[in-house]
């Protein structure tokens, strides 16, 4: 086995673990919201330390690989992708933590309304992140492309819920506090979906060597 192979496998394992913990964070923070489970939201906040620690470990391992193994071609692109993606995943986890913090406030008040579109948006965002991670780990560029396309659906739901919340807040001033908290929640979800898209763009770089972010280039 090539010497670099075991290092790349370690990197793959760490990014997979970091992704799984972050997927849990998204799942738990949104479940805490929908089921008004404050214990779960607190647990989500506490778990974030593990994700932060993994980001540091991935940064160090990827840097070591570049210095000590001098990767080229596909090995280099995988290493760069992991280094970059670890930072993106960490921010996604921070958004999940932020949702959990909004849940603290929301759970201290009566429910504003039954959630209809918000669970759809949360599920779609979680699926996007899951698929982005799978595309990364399995180097499935087609899955990355399919996932990027889903971002428009998340954006549509964001605008739909945003308008609905604004409408409620205009009609019922007593709902402004809860409505504002929920606006933050949907913004966090929307950003998570954007980050999932960024991961997919990195997967395209990793597999095809093309940089498509900030370009008009078709993915």
């Amino acid at each position: 086995m090539r010497i670099i192979e075991s290092d790349l496998n370690k990197l793959r394992e760490k990014i997979t673990l970091m992704g799984q913990l972050t997927e849990n964070a998204i799942e738990h923070s949104t479940k805490a919201l929908f089921e008004r489970d404050s214990e779960l939201s607190e647990a989500t906040i506490k778990e974030d330390d593990k994700i932060d620690k993994l980001e540091n470990e991935i940064d160090k391992l990827a840097t070591d690989i570049m210095v000590l193994r001098q990767p080229a071609a596909g090995d280099l692109r995988f290493t760069v992708t992991c280094l970059h993606t670890a930072g993106i995943i960490e921010r996604i986890a921070d958004h999940a933590v932020n949702i959990a913090k909004h849940v603290r406030v929301l759970n201290s008040e009566p429910p504003l309304k039954p959630y209809v579109d918000l669970p759809k948006m949360a599920l779609l965002t979680k699926e996007m992140f899951h698929d982005a991670l799978e595309a990364l780990i399995k180097a499935e560029v087609d899955l990355a492309r399919q996932t990027i396309r889903k971002d428009d659906q998340v954006d549509e739901l964001f605008h739909l819920i945003y308008d609905e919340l604004l409408d409620i807040m205009q009609k019922r001033p007593d709902s402004i506090k809860r409505g504002s908290e929920l606006l933050f929640v949907i913004k966090h979800l929307e950003r998570m979906a954007d980050y999932a898209t960024n991961i997919c763009e990195m997967v395209i770089y990793m597999t095809e060597g093309r940089i498509i972010k900030h370009t008009e280039e078709a993915f």
Binding site: A72, L76, E208
Partner: protein, 288 residues
């Protein structure tokens, strides 16, 4: 009889080229990088044989002037053979033959009328092992100038030797002992002396066959810095087994395997996103 002069192309030569336009063969892949500058050297469907052994297969390559091109590939892939075709060093090996064309400034260097001695002045070569003559430092550099009658006076000869040694980043280390034996220099200094000797006769192309493989890291770094500086005035082609060296110094990289040119592109592309799986496998250490 000089027929490969850039400034004075000979009509006869041009006619010959028209008559013997090689049949274009389909490339398996588009191996040529985007080259905007002038082409210094071009191989067209080049095949090379050591007797029955077919060492190079249909090489097509355009090397731009004032650039550094690295040839990489496993041992026996043909990279050194190809390098040695560029100044016809293979001519001295019995039983070798060549098919196709190798153009320098648009002129076929294998045309019968080409003066091989003049060709080797225009296409200098630095070898893996430094090859100083058992003479003084001064005489090593002056030798080529003298036999090519490039200096009109002793003063001009001294100036040309100093310029060559300066360009080769050796002048400051040897200016006070020019009459000492070249063999007393360190390995790295001897290699820079060989580069100075090559530069002294004003070549257009400098071929380097693993010029740092016998040197320590510090001497290697000096030679690499020198190679990059040489690009200002010369087209440099370097064969190297050290892929980090190729990434550090070259603008373009050509990957050879089993006598075929597998891929030729900008070095950055070859080492980050090669088009060919064989290139990827080689540079990531999966074979070779």
């Amino acid at each position: 009889m000089l027929t490969v002069n850039k400034s004075k192309p000979v009509d006869k030569m041009e006619n010959k080229e028209t008559q013997t336009e090689p049949k274009k063969t389909e490339l398996k892949t588009n191996i040529d990088p985007e080259i905007s500058s002038n082409i210094q050297m071009e191989a067209q469907n080049l095949d090379f044989f050591y007797g029955e052994k077919h060492a190079l297969h249909g090489i097509n390559m355009k090397i731009p002037e004032k650039s550094i091109t690295a040839f990489i590939g496993p041992s026996g892939c043909g990279k050194s053979t190809f390098l040695r075709t560029i100044n016809r060093m293979n001519d001295i090996i019995a039983g070798t033959r060549i098919k196709g064309k190798l153009l320098l400034d648009g002129q076929d260097i294998y045309a019968p009328s080409v003066d091989v001695v003049d060709l080797r002045r225009r296409v200098g070569m630095v070898f893996q092992k430094s090859t100083p003559f058992p003479k003084s430092i001064f005489e090593n550099v002056a030798y080529g100038i003298k036999i090519n009658q490039l200096a009109k006076s002793r003063g001009e000869l001294q100036t040309m030797v100093e310029q060559a040694l300066t360009q080769a980043a050796l002048w400051n280390e040897v200016k006070d002992r020019l009459n000492d034996s070249a063999l007393a220099l360190s390995g790295g200094q001897q290699q820079r002396l060989c580069i100075a000797r090559t530069i002294a006769v004003s070549p257009e192309v400098i071929l380097m066959d693993e010029p740092c493989s016998a040197l320590d890291p510090i001497a290697t770094e000096k030679i690499e810095e020198l190679i990059v500086e040489l690009r200002e005035n010369y087209t440099v082609i370097i064969v190297t087994h050290n892929m980090q060296q190729a990434t550090r110094v070259s603008d373009y990289t050509a990957f050879f395997l089993l006598g075929e040119l597998i891929e030729f592109d900008e070095t950055e592309k070859i080492f980050t996103s090669p088009r060919e799986k064989k290139t990827e496998d080689y540079i990531t250490g999966r074979f070779g």
